[in-house]
Symmetry: C2
Subunit: 342 residues, 2 copies
């Protein structure tokens, strides 16, 4: 089985965005504030957006199952207050859950959180619990910078974040560390902010000792770990200067990298530098980079081709990257598959 741990509902019906725009207008003009019930999207509409997009691509590429979460760039936690985020997260999570119910063999949900800058993470727990209990969410996306490119939150190792970590450990859920859109003109959202956030989070984890407090907490750093694998020598050296254990002992029992790296040399480096047990197959397809690479004739984000072609992985390794590691890192995914006899 090939499990893609990183898919977002980037193709949701336009009605979702229209409702969100009305919600945003309602922040300053309460008379414009829409009711949740005014957003009507039928199952047929959901089916069509999936069948003609993600599912079509999954079938073409030979992918079986996607861990599916709301569109990352639309989380936009910097907009409005907690109440705005809360309503928006509930809507987006429900839509993803509906997609997963319509296509239970191909999609399983991960939740976005109703984060809001400066607000306690404890406020996110009800939505997190709901997504686990009602929707069967197997992971969450945790935004290390809900300010949207101003980086006003303390590092991920700060106690500010502990309420979420405690609940993640209780539920045995991993978190993908994933920012949303950048409202800082210095940072292009998918070209700078996403990659910087991955790098930043990884370095925060080096500096701290978070996994002493949460030995079972697991983080997935997307986009191939940002710059971390390319600069693995720098990070080993910085950990050494900070008198931390070797990275394999300090972080690699708890930190995993996905394969959203959109060319062969990048995947070759990732699979050479990072232990295979820490690599999770992913494509973030129909996401940041939707085009066809003129050098290969295939989609940039068709990452399975790079995994197939790399000389660094044995067949046993590929099983780990495609399925085995995901079942270990996402125990609720494993349980759901076991229930189905998969």
């Amino acid at each position: 089985m090939i499990i893609d741990v990183h898919g977002h509902y980037t193709t949701a019906p336009k009605a979702l965005e229209a409702w969100r725009n009305r919600q945003i207008a309602g922040i300053t003009d309460p008379s414009a504030r829409p009711k949740v019930s005014e957003l009507v999207i039928t199952d047929d509409e959901l089916r069509e957006t999936i069948e003609t997009n993600q599912l079509k691509q999954m079938k073409a590429r030979g992918l079986d199952l996607t861990i599916f979460s709301p569109r990352a760039s639309f989380m936009a936690h910097h907009i409005g207050d907690f109440q705005v985020s809360s309503t928006w997260a509930a809507i987006c999570n429900e839509l993803c859950a509906r997609v997963c119910r319509l296509f239970p063999d191909h999609f399983i949900p991960a939740a976005m959180l109703p984060q809001s800058p400066g607000v306690s993470l404890a406020t996110c727990l009800p939505e997190l619990d709901r997504c686990v209990r009602e929707y069967g969410a197997v992971a969450v996306n945790l935004n290390p910078d809900p300010s949207g490119g101003h980086w006003t939150s303390p590092p991920l190792t700060d106690r500010h974040w502990y309420p979420i970590y405690e609940r993640l450990c209780e539920h045995d859920l991993p978190a993908m560390i994933h920012v949303s859109t950048s409202c800082n003109p210095a940072f292009h959202t998918t070209g700078a902010h996403y990659i910087n956030a991955d790098t930043t989070a990884f370095m925060q984890l080096i500096q701290g000792d978070l996994f002493k407090d949460f030995p079972t907490l697991r983080f997935v750093i997307p986009h191939g770990g940002g710059a971390a694998p390319y600069h693995w020598g720098r990070y080993r050296g910085l950990a050494q200067e900070l008198k931390k254990p070797l990275l394999k002992d300090h972080l690699l029992n708890n930190v995993f990298f996905d394969t959203c790296v959109y060319h062969q040399p990048g995947i070759d480096l990732l699979t050479k530098v990072i232990p295979v047990d820490n690599i999770l197959f992913a494509s973030e397809m129909i996401g940041a980079v939707k085009g066809i690479d003129p050098e290969t004739g295939h989609n940039y984000d068709d990452t399975k081709r790079y995994i197939e072609a790399t000389l660094n992985l044995s067949e046993a390794d590929r099983y780990k990257v495609y399925e085995g590691n995901a079942r270990r890192v996402y125990p609720r995914l494993d349980a759901a598959l076991n229930t189905k006899g998969k």
Copy 2:
């Protein structure tokens, strides 16, 4: 000849830091403000800090010449106002110039600029001119985020930066895009902020069309280009979505990457992905990562070993990386060497 294009005076006598601390104290307490004349560092002191550090390492590693600029993390453009930055830049540039005069065969200066957040770049021109005319500076370090991790400046493609670009073109000087210390607790200075800045700058250049306005302007992106080479497929794909030319046409006549990547697989990727004409040898030695890699027994920042060992470069390629490209990208360096018959 082996030219290291990226060296900072990280080992300056302690008197420099002590003076700076008094300058910082003087921002809020004018009675504590020190005079420039109170900073006294003798030539013998300068010699000792270089002979026992950078020059010793250069000889041990077989490096001939370093482009030498003030310590990047000490630029700290976010501290005080333009006047504070101006005084500090003048002191630091003069110290580097003195080192270069004491060791003219081994060091040649690059200048820091007296940037200050929100202040016009035109204010930096007198110091830039002075460093070129009096000190023979062959490059400058340009900080894309003088706020120190808050990223309050417009992108490098904005007209805000044009006064510097115009003067750089007049002088035929390249700029290394290099941030300073991070005062944002989210960003570790050398582990996150430096690498993020490289990635951010590269993506800003993709988004814009800066080199249409300045076809002869040249930027060096340090630390192996941040995350850019590792995610080269992503960047090619994003440029494609933005309807930009191929990266080789859009940027690679003007943008160069150094080799400050501290492990073999990183250098292998860099030299595989980036055309050899765009790679400049550098180590940033006695900098961010000073330790010895237990996996190799050598310094992490002994980047010459990785360049020697990579299978991606021919001898002719290595000449380009070590010398030829630097002489092309830094014409004033080439002229200075020619004057000496080198």
